[in-house]
Amino acid sequence: MKSEGEFVNQPDNTAFTQQRLPAWQPMLSAGIVIPLFTLIGLAFIGIGVALFITSQNIKVQELDYTGTATSSPCFQCSGLSIQNCTCERNFSLSELFEGPVFFYYGLSNYYQNYRQYGVSKDDYQLSGDTTYFLKPQSYCSPYQYSNNKPIVPCGSIANSMFNDTFRLYLLVNGSRKQVPFDGKGIAWWTDYNIKYRNPSPVNGSFAAAFDGTTKPVNWQKSAYELDPTDQANNGFLNQDFLVWMRRAALPNFRKLYGRITGGDYSQGLPAGNYTLQISYNYPVLSFGGTKKVVFSNVSWMGGKNQFLGIAYLVIGSLCVVMAIVMLIVYAKYKFPDNDDA
């Protein structure tokens, strides 16, 4: 066309410029929507049933040990001034708690998702950058310096680390047999291997890397003493620390404390009476929080969660109902097929 020269300004004849691009033009019609609804409905019901049954099969054992009630064994520990208090909670399992069993502690009314709390950490410090050991970032304020010494790890999150410890005993013939918690591998692989890094030891001493700094105000031990027995679990790489630092999205949350997988318990917790010995350190009563521990096992879809199953079932049923309603409507009032368009 253009070669003729006369029509220099003639626009190009392409599907794009002429808005004639080939296109799929779907149209919403009863013929599509009703089968679609039926299909989705049935699929949802199917998934819902599967989810619901799976969720039903998951066992959960919860024990509240806040100690608000006077009858509670932990009542005497809940006072603010009491240090190094230990209390015990007994419970019994009537049947085998199938393994692997996971042991969680749970806190409620605890706003780990509070914005200022969430930013109160120094990512440089936590990634092992020692220049920030002596000069923590200002986000950490007011847990930036203590007695003019920089806090490592600084900030509110680290400072408020959960410090109750638990021991579980199975009562066998009147004597207590400790059920071991496996505290390793409870943090995310990426947290342990990438996100958090310990500072390199100075002169062969790990602790020396922390020279000139001080521990968080609420901590009893310094970061480099979190697990002196296992250097791989010490410092910022301590698994409990990592779990704590992964802050929760909602004010009621659980965090993994340990897995019960070892030796005799690889099949789970056998039926019997148990005693949970709690070293009660963490104060929650002041802000109306509660503490609990949870034993649970998991399935392919995670822990016990009735919601998903029920939601799928309800929505699936709704879809089917809607499909039927629409079918009736469609049969009664056909699409106005008149020619007045």
Binding site: P22, N113, S156, A187, K195, S296, G302
Partner: protein, 1208 residues
Amino acid sequence: MSFFGLDCVKKKEEETERRIRANDREYNLSFRYATNAIKTSKYNLLTFLPLNLFEQFQRIANAYFLCLLVLQVIPVISSLSWFTTVVPLALVLTVTAVKDAIDDIHRHKSDRKVNNRKAQVLINGELRSEKWMNVQVGDIIRLENNQFVTADLLLLSSSEPLNLVYIETAELDGETNLKVKQALTVTGEMGGSIEALAAFKGEVCCEAPNNRLDRFTGTLVWKEQKYPLDNQSVLLRGCTLRNTEWCFGMVLFAGPDTKLMQNCGKTSFKRTSIDRLMNVLVLFIFGFLVLMCIILAVGHGIWEYYEGSKVTGFVPREESRGPALSAFLMFWSYIIILNTVVPISLYVSMEVIRLGNSYYINWDRLMYYNRSDTPAEARTTTLNEELGQIRYIFSDKTGTLTQNIMTFNKCSINGKSYGDVIDHYSGQRLEISEDMFPVDFSFNPLADSKFQFYDSSLLEAVKLETEEVHNFFRLLALCHTVMAEEKNNDLVYQAQSPDEGALVTAARNFGFVFRSRTPESLTIVEMGVQRSYELLAILDFNNVRKRMSVIVRSPEGTLSLYCKGADTIIYQRLHESCSKLMEVTTEHLNEFAGEGLRTLVLAYKDLDEDYFSEWLQRHHEASTALEGREDKLNELYEEIEKDLLLIGASAVEDKLQDGVSQTIEQLAKADIKIWVLTGDKQETAENIGYSCNLLREEMTDVFIVAAHSTEDVRRELRNARAKMRPNAGEDAFFIPESILGNDPKVVQDETVNGEFGLVINGHSLAYALESSMELEFLRTACMCKTVMCCRVTPLQKAQVVELVKKYKQAVTLAIGDGANDVSMIKAAHIGVGISGQEGMQAVLSSDFSFAQFRFLQRLLLVHGRWSYLRMCKFLRYFFYKNFTFTFVHFWYAFFCGFSAQTVYDQSFIALYNLVYTSLPVLGMALFDQDVNDGWSLEFPQLYVPGQLSLYFSKTAFMKCALHSCYSSLVLFFIPYATVYDSMRSDGKEGADYQSFALLTQTCLTFTVCLQLSLDLSYWTAVNHLFVWGSLGMYFIVTFTMQSDGLYQLHPPSFFFVGTSRNTLDQFSVWLTVFLTAVLCVLPVLVHRLIFIQFKPTINDKVRFKVHQKKDQRPSPQRRTKIRRSSTRRSGYAFSHTQGYGDLVTSKRFLRRSAAPRSTGFTPKGRSPGFKPTGRSAGYSPSSKAQNNKQEVEPTELQQYRTVQDSTF
């Protein structure tokens, strides 16, 4: 530079009069008048950045984001890092700055081009070539033919007799005819003498610079004599010198002070109704944002009071900060977080969409006119969607509906009709088409090759020397005011009206060639024989007489009077003997009129020598009488023009442009009202109205308002209304209180039975547009199907448009081709220029331009409709996606202590609008079509929802907001419920903040994508790419942002490291995503289906139909030629104004020095308030149009000059 400029402005304010001394630069410099350099550019290299940024931040949206940015860097309230705002803002600013820079570079270029033009300036007694920018006030300049006038000049002398110059003012007021300017005699005496001019030391004292083109006052003091100066001796910048060898002028106003420049820069900024709605909505959204933030701040205060104070150990709190202060700070933090309800990318995307849709208009081959090689052009790229909402079209007639080409089509001579082609076999009339052979005029060497006639019997009749036929053409060759010029051995006619030109050309081709005229004679070549007729008198045309006659003496000495005129008039003056012929001719006339042709009846009579000399004597007395000259002359004319002998009738076709009536029909189906506003006279307008189907025989009534007083007009309008609504009774006369009282006033449409038309002329319109009458007029006019206003001035055109704009909340479009349409094009919401022959003035001030009226239907019904549809879909979806995105934060606030914690990762917030969701919606807004263009034209009714603003309105917006509210609830609470106390399949807890954020944002991304897919009705490959690409992009970017490498680069920014890897491998996460997406979309599906079922819109119906037919394109339109049989008779071939027979015959004319003044700068029939202000008036000399105009066409006045020469 700017300082100097400021200085000038200050000075100008003070300047009340201007004193200039010719040839005295020093004296003139002391006043610091502006030089002739013009500057339309805004920036230079240094000032660009600060000025441009300053301008950009004046836009409310940009300022808003700047404020946000400031808030974000305040640590105590910064809830989001600064980059979430900086990234989009920087992008927006850069894009705009680049655009502005390019525009300004163009302006610089054109400034430079204009400023560097050369002018001949008289300096120190010699002529030097100087750049325009160096010309100063007081300089004397020599201009040559066809040069642009350099600055506003006082004409000193010229090469022409009587110191006249001819100028073309097309650039200023768009009129293409020449105007005369005359220098004062005292300066004219200097002629071309350089010495005299160099010695000229006249002092001018005149008014300060202003923008009135038609007025100038000043005095010239020279040799201690005072001479008054007026507009007559002033040449304005922007004009072009024509037909004048040279002239000298003295610069009065230069550069920015010239009247042309003073008229520039007042371009009003047009906004679309969606823009205006958006402004309201943005304010509303802003209020809503503040409300949300107040709620959350109060919530925070309460939370702090009851809860926060107790968790001091964990949550870091400044002790000194009480709940109230904390709440106050939180208010601002939430303003930052929730700011996404007013998204900055919305504005950018809107611009991109409009630009894209403008390009489609430029690219459309079906709006390309190959004969003039003109594509359609969207000159304004910000008004597209308004094209889909037009309710009123105001159209010019000449050049817009018609081609402004007259062709001699048929005639009736002595009771025989010629012009139809009859099939020899069937005896049937044949349709004249392109492939027919026109009559061969090769016997006539002087024939015009462009003339085409198809009926060979007429030529045979001529060749057979039939007396009547010869007489017919002789009359056509003699009775006119056309002037002929030989140009390159070609005969060129200059006709005052195209009708006359057509008739004389017809005579020329049939062997009666008009060769030349002098004031006293006419030379024609009759069948190859040259004959000279003595021209004794021209009884000229005027509106009352509606006829013109010439009295000539043939070479043989017979005295004859030839007359042509409107049938009604001529019929009264025929001799009784013609009654038989009259009947037959009347029949033919009816036939011609029925085809929409403009007819003239021709008659003649031979005069008695004695009677005539006596008559001539009386005529001479009458024409020199001092009192009642007009009446006396008219009486004389009446006396001699009687007992005429009928020759026949001619029929001239005012050629409509192709497809005009189909287009009008289509637009009418789309419920668009078309008003024709023409400067033409009533008969012509009516005629065109009928021929293009605007007025129809079947109409119940066509009201004609042609009154001469306010009361009469009012009465006629009321009568019309009473006829249209006979039952309405009294209240029809009174305007309801609601119209008078409320503000803004909106006149509702009133329903009438039947179809009516209204024709109103300029006089009546002037009364009708008075403020006391305008509502009467508007109500009446709006009840009619068609409105035609004739003989309207450009100002009135604009006033009519403004009237409709004011009282009808409707979008208006004005279409025209000439300079007289500029005002209405600018006044209307959308101006369309026809790039025709009449110059580019209309196009330059238009928003869209193309070559043919018929393209209007495609512009509106296809492009406009799509643009509107796309923009509305875009806005609805955009608000939906952003509200949904933002509201989730609101719900989360109740679970995080109202601490302004964001739900999503910050990088997601920064990229959501830019990367993850922008392209799919842009793709929708650029490619979506409900039905293709063919079907759009097949069903013009599809246009109606746009006029009613159904697709995007406040209601639609509220629906969007509610829909988002629902979606955000789903998007927050479904993930909330699934992660609550949940564990991952490996036993680790699943409810950590980062996983939750990732889960929610993934749900959101999927939901908005699904919603878009549901809205998208036209899935091109690009849309697929955008939708799936964006989803893919989301994952790619998310994984990248959370990758090990980036984290190690800068830990604080990428602390989400590993979240996606750890979260997206969970089955329950995907189940949640699936659940939320489906749950968000299901109600929409149900709602839509039910509405399609029960209340299908026109759109649904058409789509359904198209879907059923499975046809991609509608069957090609059957073009039915509209044939009407009409009893209407109309149209006669005369120009609008009094003829210039006077000029043609008079030697007196020249000697009467006062005479040319009447053709001065005051345009006839134009209100003095009309100020043509071309958008680019500053540089139009460099524009396309002007270049085409470089070769000068001979004009009437040049013709006149040749005539005049021969008499001397």
